[in-house]
């Protein structure tokens, strides 16, 4: 009877989760998705808690309270820190899966060794490897994004990197095979922690060669792993709700990773094993080209005359927290009857959708945020393209220069606008270390400085002028 009730609750919870994701297809209904998700989670937790085998209620209450104590502050981070928070939550998800797998294993070898069938052992080892790998990898990714001191920001590469990683992985697989076939052997409980250590090490090694520009893809892949570790847990515990929820999370991460890879014209393997940063260093130091700089005053005059302005935000806007100043600029231009649109590249920023969230936070209507494919055919009609801290995603070398490491990547055609203003913090190349051909175009004027400060000056120029005319 109890079993039937809890299974029914799990079924309803699964349906809630599917609806939650379904409602995310438009911002108008998206908040219903959150409520459906909460309803499903609460239902599933209560149904599980009511299980008669549960006797230590105080422990559960304590852990839940602790979860709230940490979770609430974590949900209030500034939106520029959302990529780090997301990576951190993947780490927590992986940790939970790894720990439950560990607990299950040590519990079963003493209490019910017959329970450890080959199928269940495969699932359990998959859960443990994926869980700890995701935990360590996501912690590294979060450290990189947060720019923690002891985590290297630049991609770390060394000779035979892929070979030694593969060796490590092969070793983990061999040990896993051994323990799967002999889960109750006397040496098995000692091999288990070795597998855990290897999974942790592999997670770290997977992330250190990856550069900042690849973070959106990597976060999506880790998202997928976190989901798959929940699926594996579902197989171990024979729980179909876990399998369903994990599969939804896993496929979401996978689809996002595919979108990110397509947006960079790269393959999964290339992102994970390519050490992007390394390739481009070789390219620097080509022929010296010159760019033209412009003052905020001059740029403001051109913006004033424009009738169609496209703003292209990038990670530089997030770093400088310039989104609110950009909103002021947007408002001023709108007031003058200028059409202002935002062109959002799928990999702009450090995670999928990063720019949209920042601009929405600054109160810019989402109807003015356009995807790359929707804005590109309008770019030749644009009077001004204003690049705010974006770099590789507007580099025309992706279209023309076959030797460029980003050749073939779809870009926003900023160079087709009549005038281009590019706001850039320093004169050095961007995160990926590639020279940007856009900056040397004869239509382009550079506005050097911190994105927030430069946009602030533009705003000041435009407000100062409005009363006089």
């Amino acid at each position: 009877m109890i079993y039937g009730v809890s299974q029914f609750a799990y079924l309803v919870a699964s349906a809630c989760f599917i609806f939650a994701l379904h409602w995310m297809n438009t911002p108008a209904t998206a908040r219903n998705g959150v409520y459906a998700g909460i309803a499903g989670t609460v239902l599933a937790v209560l149904a599980t808690w009511a299980d008669p085998t549960i006797i230590h209620h105080a422990w559960i209450v304590l852990a839940i309270v602790a979860g709230f104590a940490v979770g609430v502050p974590l949900s209030r981070v500034p939106l520029t820190a959302v990529p780090q928070r997301t990576a951190l939550s993947h780490a927590f998800g992986g940790l939970a899966a790894g720990l439950v797998g560990t607990a299950e294993y040590y519990l079963q070898i003493t209490e019910a060794p017959a329970h450890l069938t080959t199928f269940r052992m495969v699932a359990l080892i998959a859960e443990v490897i994926l869980g700890y790998l995701t935990f360590a990898g996501s912690l590294m990714a979060a450290g990189k994004l947060q720019e923690v001191k002891w985590v290297p920001q630049r991609p770390v590469t060394y000779p035979l990197q892929n070979a030694s990683n593969l060796l490590l992985f092969g070793l983990a697989l061999a040990l896993s095979a051994a323990i799967t076939l002999h889960p109750t052997a006397s040496w098995a409980p000692l091999v288990f922690p070795v597998i855990v250590l290897l999974a942790l090490a592999f997670g770290v090694l997977l992330i250190i060669p990856i550069g900042g520009a690849d973070m959106p893809t990597v976060i999506a892949i880790l998202n997928s792993y976190a989901g798959l570790s929940a699926v594996a847990m579902g197989f171990v515990l024979d729980n179909k709700l876990l399998i369903t929820a994990g599969a939804l999370d896993g496929s979401s991460g996978l689809i996002l990773a595919i979108i990110m890879c397509k947006a960079m014209n790269r393959s999964f393997t290339n992102v994970l094993f390519g050490a992007f940063g390394q390739v481009q260093q070789a390219k620097a130091g080509g022929e010296q080209q010159t760019y033209k700089s412009e003052t905020a005053e001059g740029a403001a005059q051109v913006l004033e005359q424009a009738s169609f302005v496209v703003i292209i935000p990038g990670y530089g806007m997030a770093v400088a927290q310039a989104q609110h100043k950009v909103r002021e600029l947007y408002d001023l231009l709108k007031k003058r009857g200028v059409t202002v649109k935002f062109a959002i590249h799928p990999v702009a920023g450090r995670m999928p959708g990063h720019m949209n969230v920042l601009l929405a936070e600054a109160d810019i209507p989402y109807t003015d945020l356009l995807e790359m494919d929707d804005i590109n055919h309008d770019m030749p009609q644009a009077d001004v393209a204003l690049v705010v801290g974006a770099n590789d995603v507007v580099n025309p070398a992706a279209r023309t220069d076959k030797t460029s490491p980003i050749y073939g990547m779809p870009i926003i055609d900023a160079d087709k606008a009549r005038t281009v203003f590019a706001i850039k913090r320093s004169k050095s190349p961007g995160f990926a270390g590639i020279d940007n051909q856009l900056y040397f175009s004869e239509r382009t004027w550079m506005l050097f400085g911190d994105a927030k400060a430069v946009v602030g000056e533009l705003v000041k120029e435009l407000t100062g002028g409005s009363g006089m005319h």
Partner: protein, 100 residues
């Protein structure tokens, strides 16, 4: 345990996931990630069974840490998703809002 029925659930749920996620607005990919994160933290049910069961202490300690980690994801995941989604407004809603 019925091996095949769990595999069926996994494969069919993945297809549903692909179909549903593909139609999610690109505007919402960041909130989507925090939402799926909160949803997959339903792994909390596994942690509850281990923490609350009549098991040795060290097993329950592992379970309690897992329960804490999942709960953190559930709470922060749903809260931050809602916080982000609240910010997405159309222009008419925005003009009627508190901003001048």
């Amino acid at each position: 345990m019925d091996f095949w029925s769990t595999v069926f659930v996994f494969v069919l749920a993945s297809f549903i996931g692909m179909g549903v996620i593909r139609r999610v607005s690109r505007l919402l990919h960041t909130p989507l990630m925090s939402l799926t994160n909160a949803i997959s933290a339903i792994a909390v049910v596994g942690a509850i069974l281990i923490t609350g069961g009549d098991y040795p202490l060290r097993i329950r300690v592992l379970g309690a840490i897992a329960l804490f980690a999942s709960m953190t994801n559930i709470v922060s995941g749903f809260l931050i998703t809602d916080r982000m989604l609240k910010m997405f407004k159309t222009s008419d809603k925005r003009d009627g809002g508190s901003h001048s």
